[in-house]
C-alpha cells in the first residue's frame, strides 16, 4: 500500500471499501487485532455520518508515525451543513436522526486521538489516530 490514499465517499458501498482499506492499513501498521477492529469500526461510523449528514465527501488513509510508533491516521471530510453544537453531538446518545447517537462519542472512545472540526455551512472534518 502507498503511504497515503484518498477514497471517495459518495455512496453506501464506499463505506465498505473504506473499512477494507483501513483494515489493510491497520494490518500494515501491525496494530493488534483489537486495535484494528476499533479503528475500522470508528472509520465505519464516521464515514456513515459524513455520507448521511454531510452528503458525502472523502476519506484519507495514511500509514503514519506517532512518536516512533507505527500508526494509522484517517481524515474523513464532508462539505455538508456542519455541526452547530459539537459538544452536544459528542454526547452519548445524542442523535438528530433515528440513530443511537453512538457514532461520534463511541468512535472517540475507540481511537487514540480524535479531532472533530466543524462549522455550520462549512462541512465537517474528523481526524482519527490509532497507533501501536
Amino acid at each position: 500500500m502507498t503511504k497515503t490514499q484518498t477514497l471517495p465517499l459518495k455512496q453506501e458501498t464506499d463505506i465498505v471499501i473504506i473499512r477494507q482499506r483501513v483494515r489493510k492499513a491497520a494490518e500494515e501498521a501491525r496494530l493488534g487485532l483489537v486495535s484494528q477492529t476499533k479503528i475500522v469500526t470508528a472509520a465505519s461510523e464516521i464515514a456513515r455520518n459524513a455520507l448521511i449528514y454531510g452528503g458525502g465527501g472523502q476519506c484519507l488513509i495514511e500509514l503514519a508515525n506517532r512518536d516512533g510508533r507505527a500508526a494509522v491516521r484517517l481524515v474523513i471530510a464532508d462539505q455538508g451543513p456542519g455541526i452547530a453544537d459539537i459538544e452536544r453531538a459528542l454526547v452519548d446518545g445524542y442523535t438528530s436522526g433515528s440513530g443511537l447517537g453512538l457514532g461520534l462519542s463511541g468512535s472517540r472512545r475507540l481511537v487514540d486521538e480524535f479531532d472533530l472540526k466543524s462549522q455550520p455551512g462549512a462541512g465537517t472534518t474528523v481526524e482519527l489516530w490509532k497507533w501501536k
Partner: protein, 141 residues
C-alpha cells in the same frame, strides 16, 4: 458485491451465516427477508452466525436488535453465535449493548439453546408469555 444473504430452512429453524462485509442496504434487505421467511415458514427459531464478521458497527448492531425484536413479536427465538472477541470488545467500548439479544459461542451451543427454548415453550403450551431462560443470558428489552 453480494446482493443477498442466503437464509436456510432446517425444520422449524432458519439459519443464516453472514460471511460478507455488509453494506447498509444489504443489512436492511436481510432484515426484511428474514421477517418474511419467519412468517412464511412459521419458524420457531433463528440462528445467526456472525463468526466471519470482522466488525459490528452501530448499523449492524441496530439490525441485529431489530431482528430480535421483530422475531419476538412473531414468536420466534433468535440467537446470535460466534462473535469474535475483538468485535465484542469493540462493541462494548462503542457503547452498543445489544441487550435483548441472546448469544452463544458457537453454532452447536446456539442450536442447543434454540431447541431447548423452543421445546420449553411447546411443553408449557401456547400461548406463552413468560421467559425463564437460563444460559445463555437474555436480558429484557
Amino acid at each position: 458485491m453480494v446482493d443477498r444473504i442466503p437464509i436456510l430452512k432446517m425444520g422449524k429453524y432458519l439459519l443464516l451465516s453472514i460471511q460478507v462485509d455488509m453494506h447498509d442496504q444489504l443489512a436492511l434487505d436481510l432484515q426484511e427477508d428474514l421477517t418474511e421467511q419467519i412468517v412464511r415458514h412459521r419458524a420457531k427459531g433463528v440462528l445467526i452466525d456472525i463468526s466471519s464478521l470482522e466488525i459490528v458497527d452501530s448499523f449492524i448492531g441496530r439490525m441485529l436488535s431489530h431482528i430480535a425484536n421483530v422475531s419476538r413479536i412473531l414468536d420466534a427465538k433468535v440467537i446470535v453465535v460466534g462473535m469474535q472477541p475483538a468485535v465484542a470488545i469493540t462493541l462494548v467500548e462503542l457503547g452498543l449493548s445489544l441487550e435483548g439479544i441472546a448469544t452463544a459461542l458457537n453454532i452447536e451451543k446456539g442450536m442447543r439453546w434454540l431447541e431447548n427454548s423452543v421445546n420449553e415453550d411447546e411443553i408449557a403450551g401456547e400461548p406463552e408469555s413468560d421467559e425463564d431462560t437460563d444460559a445463555p443470558s437474555e436480558t429484557g428489552n
